[in-house]
């Protein structure tokens, strides 16, 4: 008995060490964001900043608050848009039978397989035509389209587990389809909707390619700002580290808070 216990503790220690090593790069960047430029470039490296100074963050916020706000607005509005379209669509795909249903499902799923660059070029030309280049509206319009396939797929995989008899019973009681949708399907698949919301939010927050292609000065999002620290002759690593920390911190917090949804979302479709 005791031998097994010791072995398990050692394994736990091993897992802890591997986990720590795995996120060490993230910690190193967060640590570096409090360093001065001299500390960043010194060899041997300065492990812990001598004085925890927040100058990098101050410098960053002085210029970039509008872009962070852009990121936030585009992320939140597009997530809402995705849900508005995807939740009913997932219901439509799971509660009914109709001809060509399988093809329609595949069509939704195939949206996820499209390489964004193949879409971004036509998007660019289209948005230029309708004068939505470099606007939040233009970005939101496209983010919603990019999010729908994943959201429909995730939510549908949860809605399928609602037993048809429940809908049938509601019909007998005189419920109409909209009532069934709002009062039965949505509450019963709230876990799936939560999972989809988390993923769509994170993906929108992380998106680089579309804003890189489609924005210039006004609607630029924060990930695009991050790439610009490289453009200059000298890379402002201390600013980049602070920027990376700002970008990633909300995701880390969200992930830790909603961990059960993340695991089910990532493995749900593959396993069930």
């Amino acid at each position: 008995m005791r031998k097994v216990d010791i072995k398990r503790r050692l394994l736990f220690l091993l897992a802890a060490v591997i986990t720590l090593l795995n996120i060490a790069p993230l910690l190193w960047v967060a640590l570096s964001s409090f360093k001065t430029r001299i500390e960043i470039f010194s060899t041997p490296p300065v492990w812990i900043p001598e004085r925890w100074q927040v100058q990098n963050y101050i410098d960053l916020f002085q210029v970039n608050v509008p872009y962070l706000i852009n990121s936030l607005i585009v992320t939140l509005v597009s997530t809402a848009g995705v849900l508005l379209l995807s939740v009913p669509a997932a219901f439509g795909l799971t509660a009914f039978t109709f001809p060509k249903k399988h093809d329609l499902e595949m069509w939704f799923l195939s949206g996820r397989m499209m390489p964004p660059v193949a879409a971004a070029i036509p998007f660019y030309l289209t948005l230029r035509q309708i004068k939505l280049i470099d606007t939040q509206a233009g970005l939101i319009l496209l983010y919603v389209g990019v999010g729908i396939p994943l959201a429909v797929w995730l939510i549908a995989s949860f809605m399928r587990s609602i037993h048809p008899a429940i809908y049938e019973a509601a019909k007998i009681d005189g419920c109409k389809w909209d009532q069934i949708f709002f009062r039965i399907a949505i509450p019963l698949s709230s876990g799936g909707i939560a999972t989809a919301t988390i993923f769509i939010t994170i993906f929108a927050w992380n998106e680089l390619l579309l804003p890189l292609f489609l924005t210039d000065r006004f609607a630029k999002t924060f990930p695009v700002v991050l790439t610009s620290f490289q453009g200059q002759t000298e890379i402002a690593w201390e600013l980049m580290c602070a920027g990376a920390t700002i970008q990633v911190l909300p995701i880390v917090i969200l992930t830790l808070f909603v961990q059960k949804y993340i695991v089910s979302g990532l493995t749900g479709g593959a396993v069930k």
């Binding site: 091993l14 897992a15 660059v117 389209g145 493995t267």
Partner: protein
């Protein structure tokens, strides 16, 4: 297949009779799925089909974003140039190398770590540990690229310093054509091994315990258990994860853009960067559109294969 409540037509009739106030949804009593599906279908249709047709059209023209001249029709000339450009093939080959090596490494690492986390799964803190372990896959890809170019900087990066402590000579990482592609594979594997870990873990946990017990009684060694029981049992689930990873690698852009932008030389060129450059650096919208169309066609072929190989349960989860 789930039996739909609609297949019982009598019920449907009762329902519509019961609704005296004719609502919006009642108008679709013959096709009740329509109002739920139509908005998303129209949206996706407008957002995929229209731009696609537009770029097919644009790819037939000599369309420049900067020149004031009206675009001239050039037929398939853009495609001809594209398919005779060695750089385009380099981009395809590099994607192939990145995809195959990343997915293999991610599986080996993911499978091993999954075993580790299963072995300690009855310790409560291990769930939190697992969540922290999978954090890399949630991190913004462009941050992943920037972060690693900071850590792997050949001159002052912390990685070479740590290697030096162990007596390993400094590596050039992203700055040499010989190592740049493998450095990209490395950070790709760092970010996505946790995904295959999760997939392997859930699949392994669904193997019934008595199979292990039976194997033990028969005196099976650990490698027998892995090859004869575990791998065949988790095959379908892992396949789904692997297919998603293949598709995602084909879409790769952010981490290469943030680290090497295709260089040094053409050693890390990938097709999405190639198309990006055509439009946003050379302003060749026509040529770039042709590249986009070709990428789209290749992706469609891959997706079609993927769907064929995907176990049906995966789609109808």
């Amino acid at each position: 297949m789930a039996k739909s409540p609609l297949s019982t037509y009598g019920l449907e009739k009762t329902g519509s009779l019961a609704s005296r106030r004719e609502g919006f949804f009642a108008r679709f009593s013959k096709h009740p799925a329509t109002p739920f599906l139509i908005p998303a279908v129209i949206y996706l249709f407008a957002l995929t089909i229209y731009p696609f047709l537009y770029s097919v059209g644009a790819s037939l023209f000599n369309l420049s974003l900067t020149s004031p001249k009206p675009p001239s029709f050039v037929g398939l000339a853009n495609y001809k140039t594209l398919l005779s450009d060695g750089l385009f093939y380099t981009g395809l080959a590099n994607i192939g190398i990145i995809t195959v090596s990343s997915v293999i490494l991610e599986f080996i690492i993911g499978f091993s770590i999954a075993h580790l986390f299963i072995a300690i799964s009855d310790i409560r803190a291990s769930h939190l540990l697992r969540t922290i372990y999978i954090l890399p896959m949630m991190v913004t890809p462009v941050v992943v690229g920037l972060m690693w170019s900071y850590i792997l900087d050949p001159l002052f990066g912390i990685a070479n310093y740590i290697l030096g402590v162990f007596g390993v000579p400094p590596q050039p990482w992203f700055s040499s054509p010989n190592t740049a592609l493998w450095s990209i594979v490395f950070i790709n594997v760092w970010q996505w091994s946790p995904f295959l870990m999760l997939i392997c873990m859930t699949a392994l946990m669904s193997i019934p315990n008595d199979m292990y017990e039976a194997a033990q009684i028969d005196g099976a060694k650990w490698y027998h258990i892995v090859t004869r029981i575990e791998l065949p049992m988790i095959r379908n689930t892992v396949l789904v994860g692997v297919i998603f990873r293949i598709i995602d690698n084909f879409r790769l852009f952010d981490i290469v853009f943030a680290t090497t932008r295709g260089g040094p030389g053409r050693s890390t060129e990938i097709i999405s960067l190639y198309a990006y450059r055509q439009i946003f650096q050379y302003f060749n919208a026509g040529y770039g559109s042709a590249a986009a169309v070709i990428i789209f066609i290749i992706a469609t072929i891959i997706a079609t294969f993927a769907v064929k190989f995907l176990p049906k349960e995966a789609i109808h989860a």
